[in-house]
Point group: C2
Chain length 300, copies 2
């Protein structure tokens, strides 16, 4: 684990002040870091300055990166890829780069192609909300959560230490994974649940059109199961486009699981049905225990 001292006195440029970039800025306050936001939206820049989320804010990438030792790219994956391609011109002297993107293979491959003046580490904090934007940002978003880090060909020892110091500063726990390993894991545990929730939302919204009572009858179970359907479509589109094979594989396996459920219900064997349902309850209990024995790793 890197010491947080390495960040003191440094200038950190955060590119994109949405939920993640804004929360990162808030979490880094009080660590002796000069924070500069690079954000295209004028109202967001004004809000950030008014609430002292950052010390400076600009819409111009070149300007924001001037003098920054570390650039944190906090945007949907597509925007991060575009930023990485603009970095060599926008910051000719190079800097350390960390991103907060939801998928890692495409981003780390782009980091590999950066000129040697750049040192770059891929990052993905395993937390979030179904609402986007600076207004939803909170300093405690990362506290106790897993923060995945991925080495690129441009990850030298200093870049890795800075990335770990950043993770420590926001109260998260670093977990180094290979980019493809990351993408397969999150396809299963994050992207599949999103699509499962979104499909459920689509069906319920259709059913609600022909019944005035559906929403009245809905309870906390429906609320929780569909929460992810509220996720930012731009973020989800970029995730889908950059992690397609892994998401498709997880979805195909999930569809086979649904066929198992359909067969169970069609057959209607009381005991076999009970065994299946009890196995799911046991798995859920085991998962809850597995999370709780690593206290603070996750809000779950």
């Amino acid at each position: 684990m890197g010491s947080m001292d390495i960040l003191v006195g440094k200038t950190v440029a955060i590119v994109g002040l949405g939920l993640m970039g804004g929360s990162l800025a808030l979490a880094l306050r009080g660590h002796g870091i000069r924070l500069v936001a690079i954000e295209l939206d004028e109202a967001t820049r004004a809000l950030a300055l008014e609430r002292r989320v950052v010390d400076e804010a600009t819409a111009v990438l070149e300007e924001g990166l001037r003098g920054a030792e570390l650039a944190v790219l906090a945007a949907p994956v597509g925007a991060i890829l575009s930023l990485l391609s603009r970095l060599p011109e926008a910051c000719p002297n190079g800097c350390i780069v960390l991103d907060l993107g939801s998928t890692k293979e495409a981003i780390v491959a782009a980091m590999d192609r950066l000129p040697p003046a750049f040192r770059a580490v891929g990052g993905h904090p395993m937390c979030g909300k179904e609402v986007a934007g600076l207004a939803a940002a909170e300093a405690g978003l990362f506290a106790g959560q897993t923060f995945i880090l991925c080495r690129s060909r441009r990850s030298d020892r200093e870049a890795q230490s800075v990335a770990e110091a950043m993770v420590a500063a926001v109260g998260a726990r670093p977990l180094w994974l290979a980019p493809d390993q990351h993408d397969r894991l999150v396809a299963q545990i994050s992207h599949l649940p999103y699509f499962v929730a979104a499909a459920l939302m689509a069906d319920a919204a259709l059913a609600a059109q022909s019944s005035d009572y559906l929403w009245q009858v809905s309870a906390s179970g429906f609320h929780d199961t569909t929460r992810l359907a509220g996720s930012d479509p731009r973020m989800m589109r970029d995730i889908a486009l950059t992690n397609r094979p892994a998401i498709l594989a997880a979805l195909l396996q999930y569809r086979r699981r649904l066929d198992e459920v359909l067969a169970l219900l069609e057959k209607g064997d009381e005991d076999v049905l009970y065994q299946w349902l009890a196995a799911r309850q046991a798995e859920h209990a085991a998962y809850v225990v597995a999370k709780s024995v690593r206290p603070g790793v996750n809000r779950g």
Copy 2:
């Protein structure tokens, strides 16, 4: 809406002191009602008396029903059906019957067959938790929630007033529905989400066997989407067996929706994908608004 006065001085027998029966007893405390629990489990009876959840507790149905004006059947659907068949012998003079079962067609049909000494109303409070048992019971469980009521052939005016008074006493809002209408609505908004969550849990548990990192990488999205997988398997089995056609129909439609998602991802058209994702976000937002304009109807 029935006046709550109708309950004052009455004896209410609650058959089954689990999460729902226990929460009902706690919510009815302080309304001038004598509460008797009929519960087979000795430790649960002892706990209920020790914590003054009820005034009396017995394992014997006949004993508990003696002198009760109202019997509330709070058990999985299969146990409620069995209780309804035993009522004529256990309570020869009859009483008013209300149940809290998760499906309503089979139960209301059984109520229809009760001798005329009984007056019966089907009930289903739209709330719950993924944990079962008296220890998880709480007085506020029903507060602000929708409490569905279904008339049977044995529902006279007094039974309906008593049922509404009970709903009001626990702070819920009555919604009268036909049993088949209830069962179709909950298949869509409650049973389908359960099976969707359980299938997701099954896939993740399998994947976790071959990756030490899966649970570490999991975050609140997975937690919420799979929460229902922890539901009581006995309750879910009975739901599945008594609402099979409606659940199968909802699941088949859901599988078609997943095929739509698979096709979207396979095609990978950026704009079409974005439109689909944005439609889900809009539907989620509309659902959240629909719930919030009926304040207190649901925790969601």
